[in-house]
């Protein structure tokens, strides 16, 4: 029985049990991770997971059931159970559910991959982490850590509307970090970011990072930070490196424009959004330099795919254009509920999870400047880079971020290193203060975006470049 056959059987069983719409995803995911510490391999894990998840719509109620079994009997039982669960939802009914139309598609899609990451010998991958972590130890780190992760996911999607789509998405990435431990505090430096850089690519991404070449520098910087002056407290001009700006986009734009949050569907857990649909198209989100796109078509970016997990094709859209809010991340049912005509941003973390609205690649279009130009134009400020902590309220307004490292900027020059840099603000006020944006864009990958109950981990991409923000509160501490 093929994967398509199993998905088709599940969908048919749900329809036979009373569903007016059903879809099913068979997923086969291979995962591998290796971590190293202080020159030794710490853990090598491999996982292979295969299963089927079926979603049924009965009246105005959804139901979902998943099984790790692709037999005809198991698939049909899963379809029947999904329909029964959907019927139970009617005990607490909501408004009628519609789905925005999507053309029924028969298609195949695969991400680009030059070097199969699971085909690279484990010994080579281990040597890379061992060498980098040993170098960090030699250069003063008390704790030297390295990590890579690989996901190879094949999926087969069938819907009762005629979709029949298979995709293979290979993702990988890695990074290193050095921690120095002083009296009562720790200091960390990472490369290229805390958990590393990730994309829908082959091992060529990890090779291009050249982890070992940066090991000595970050180890020495982590040591140096222990005695660096504290980031001053107060309001100042803030320059963010691209990696930190990527997380700023993720937390204060990406999640805020998720339509399920805007509609209140995540109110009890992930939260809602400060955005009001009545102001879509007119609300000023940020300065005119702010152009944010939702673009799952970017080759190699971590949030890329051919089709989302309810069969909508990957399409690039504007979320913010010249500072004005113009678009959302949506699914077929949430879009219909909001009176919009597009979905395309629904994804499931494996076969056992319900597809839900998720970020794809949400990022800033490049600006006209360079980081050097931004620094040169800054009389008094702080440059911060590489995220260390992140926290934002349930409406995605009030945020506080900590970075691994800061630098004083005085009279257009980068000065001494600063430790424990933090900054805080309110999303739209912050974005409206952005007055310089670099053209040096990198599509940063975030492999650990949590959302949903039961929990799902999403992989998202965020093109971002260094930028300057005026009058930001920095140096918050206990």
């Amino acid at each position: 029985m093929s994967e398509f056959d199993a998905a088709t059987a599940a969908v048919q069983a749900a329809l036979d049990a009373g569903a007016r719409y059903a879809d099913a995803r068979v997923m086969h995911r291979r995962y591998e991770s290796m971590s190293a510490r202080n020159g030794d391999i710490e853990e090598l894990s491999q996982d292979e997971s295969v299963g089927l998840g079926v979603r049924a719509l009965v009246g105005s109620g959804w139901g979902f059931h998943a099984v790790p079994d692709l037999s005809d009997a198991a698939a049909r039982d899963a379809g029947r159970r999904a329909a029964a669960i959907a019927a139970a939802s009617a005990r607490v009914p909501g408004p009628p559910i519609d789905l925005v139309p999507v053309e029924a598609t028969v298609a195949s899609w695969a991400s680009d991959c030059v070097v199969d990451p699971l085909g690279v010998p484990l010994s080579d991958k281990g040597d890379l982490l061992v060498r980098a972590t040993a170098t960090m130890r030699e250069h003063g780190a008390d704790l030297a850590e390295g990590l890579y992760q690989i996901w190879d996911t094949s999926k087969w999607f069938v819907s009762s509307e005629g979709h029949r789509i298979d995709q293979r998405i290979r993702e990988c990435g890695g990074g290193i970090s050095a921690t120095s431990i002083g009296d009562g505090e720790t200091q960390r430096r990472s490369y290229p970011s805390y958990r590393g850089q990730y994309g829908t690519t082959g091992w060529e991404l990890v090779t291009s990072l050249d982890l070992a070449a940066h090991a000595a520098r970050i180890a020495e910087e982590s040591r140096e930070l222990l005695t660096a002056p504290l980031c001053p407290a107060g309001e100042t001009d803030l320059i963010l490196g691209g990696e930190q700006l990527a997380l700023q986009i993720h937390e204060s734009v990406g999640h805020a424009i998720e339509l399920d949050r805007i509609l209140g569907w995540e109110a009890a857990f992930a939260g809602t959004s400060w955005l009001d649909l009545a102001r879509l198209g007119s609300l000023r989100y940020g300065s005119e330099l702010m152009n944010v796109t939702i673009d799952p078509t970017i080759p190699g970016a971590l949030g890329s795919f051919g089709f989302d997990d309810e069969g909508s094709p990957a399409v690039a859209r504007d979320a913010v254009r010249e500072g004005r809010w113009v678009g959302v991340l949506a699914g077929r049912d949430s879009a219909a509920a909001a009176g919009l005509d597009y979905g395309g941003s629904v994804r499931a973390d494996g076969w056992a999870r319900l597809p839900m609205v998720r970020m794809t690649n949400v990022g800033l279009e490049p600006g006209p400047h360079t980081l050097d130009e931004i620094i040169a134009a800054t009389d008094d400020g702080v440059l911060m880079d590489i995220n260390r902590s992140w926290s934002i309220d349930d409406k995605r307004l009030n945020f506080q971020f900590g970075c691994e490292v800061g630098w004083e900027v005085k009279k257009g020059r980068r000065g001494r290193m600063l430790r424990n840099p933090t900054y805080t603000g309110i999303g739209p006020v912050f974005w409206r203060s952005m007055d310089m944006l670099s053209s040096e864009t990198v599509a940063w990958g975030t492999p650990n975006c949590g959302k949903g109950q039961p929990g799902q981990v999403g992989h998202t991409g965020h093109p971002a470049a260094p930028a300057r923000f005026r009058g930001v509160r920095v140096g918050v501490r206990a």
């Binding site: 484990l122 720790t186 009890a268 805080t424 501490r477």
Partner: protein, 467 residues
């Protein structure tokens, strides 16, 4: 022999046949039935269930260690798991710190399993949601009701075996009144012990009491933290402090033998109390682990690897990823106070001041002793600024009230805070503990934090809702 043990023992045999008698293998097979009914805008919008199976194999051969796992339990699937794990072991780097296998050891029976909870129907979950929604009486309601059942079997090539089952139910919901939210959250051994109507009524009362909040200036405030907020303290202390790997790396605040906490603080990781299998990923029997006794830090958690490095042995905290992230206690009880926390206990003036702000006599007693401070329901999005001092930033959520002369006088807008958790609980800083502990569900089944409300002398709020 149950079905899971047949699989586990079969995989150990397969390793023995293919990798030889010197190979060391440990296998955990877990079957799960997990279901969650989720509601928002007062209707069920997501309703899911999952029948799952996971086979976890750790193999140590020729000085190299690899972990493999999979969801296929047919003969071909298990053979493929063993083969790819063996193949990976041949190429893996040496592992000089291999801690060896758990020797044959008696394993306790574990908490009792309520069959009605283990195999509850979607209608039974939906019925509790219906009761919650009805009880909020016109407010918007959102949250979930979940049930979970796991059956596990462990076997290793040293001859140790263990079996166990676990079930739990949890409900977590908010009521929403014009932008103000109130929360009610409970984890239980039995679905029958979750009263959707009672939880809904509590959430609604809190939401109504949280309406029309004022913004107060940031600063240090005395606080009463309700159990949902205290659970966040326990979770962060566990992840970053009582984590044996972080302790070995000198990244933890923990100093065993030192009076780091107020004498009223006693913390126990107590997995056999409820909802978990009686053994860990490595087959080590679970047991109660005193983390803090009378304010003195007692122990940190170890898996076999971290325990061997520390010379302490495993405390039964092996879990997927613990080699990387560290062994973390997930079943922490903050023991309730044994004396009256305040003069108001007898009177139980739960309706004094802002009606509904205080939902129970226990919290009322703590609030009654406060001249000026804040009553905080819940914390949100807490993240570590520095692990060594466990400085955390986060926000309040689901209700904050100003308390004056022992009475909640008005609702307050949410704050951002930046605070060292061990310092906030330090000697002399705990002014009162409630007498009733409430079990709060963790993000995944099997993880919970049982705690009373807590009165602290100071909490550092570093920003208001508007910045």
């Amino acid at each position: 022999m149950n079905a899971e043990m047949e699989i586990a023992a079969g995989v150990v045999d397969l390793v023995r046949h293919t990798a030889g008698p010197a190979a060391e293998a440990e296998v955990l097979v877990t079957r799960s039935d997990l279901a969650l009914t989720r509601f928002a805008n007062s209707f069920v919008h997501q309703n899911v269930s999952e029948t799952g199976v996971a086979v976890h194999l750790r193999l140590h051969v020729d000085g190299r260690t690899v972990t493999g796992s999979g969801s296929r339990i047919d003969a071909d699937g298990l053979a493929a798991l063993v083969e790819r794990t063996r193949a990976a072991a041949r190429l893996a780097p040496p592992d000089p710190a291999w801690p060896g296998l758990t020797a044959p050891t008696p394993v306790p029976a574990g908490p009792a399993v309520d069959e009605a909870t283990a195999f509850a129907s979607p209608d039974e979950r939906a019925e509790r949601v219906r009761a919650f929604v009805a009880a909020v009486e016109g407010l918007e309601a959102a949250g979930y009701c979940r049930t979970a059942y796991r059956s596990g079997a462990f076997a290793n090539s040293a001859g140790h075996t263990a079996v166990g089952r676990a079930a739990e139910a949890a409900m977590d919901g908010i009521a929403r009144a014009g932008g103000a939210d109130g929360v009610a959250r409970l984890c239980a051994d039995r679905l029958a012990d979750l009263d959707g109507a009672a939880l809904g009524a509590r959430a609604a009362a809190k939401a109504r009491a949280a309406a029309d909040p004022v913004e107060l200036p940031p600063g240090h405030y005395e606080v009463v933290l309700e159990p949902a907020a205290v659970a966040d303290l326990l979770q962060n202390l566990a992840w970053h402090g009582f984590n044996g790997k972080r302790y070995a790396e000198r990244q933890s605040f923990a100093e065993p033998g030192t009076a780091q906490f107020d004498p009223s603080v006693t913390l126990v990781d107590d997995p056999l109390h409820a909802g978990t299998l009686p053994f860990d990923l490595e087959g080590t029997p679970r047991r109660a682990l005193p983390l803090v006794e009378g304010g003195t830090t007692g122990a940190v958690a170890y898996d076999r690897r971290a325990g061997a490095e520390a010379g302490a042995g495993s405390t039964g905290h092996g879990m997927p990823g613990s080699a990387t992230f560290g062994p973390i206690p997930h079943n922490i009880r903050l023991l309730a106070g044994t004396t009256d926390a305040g003069a108001a206990v007898a009177a139980g003036p739960v309706s004094a001041g802002v009606t509904g702000a205080v939902g129970d006599p226990d919290t009322a007693a703590l609030v009654a002793g406060m001249r000026r401070g804040l009553l905080v329901s819940d914390f949100w999005y807490t993240r570590v600024l520095d692990p060594k001092q466990l400085v955390i930033t986060g926000l309040t959520r689901n209700g904050v009230w100003l308390v004056e002369d022992g009475v909640p006088t008005r609702a307050v807008r949410d704050f951002r805070f930046t605070e060292s958790y061990p310092r906030a609980l330090g000697p002399g800083r705990v002014l009162g503990l409630g007498r009733t502990a409430v079990r709060q569900p963790g993000r995944v089944d099997g993880s919970w934090y049982e705690t009373p409300a807590l009165r602290l002398s100071s909490w550092h709020f570093t920003g208001g809702a508007s910045g």
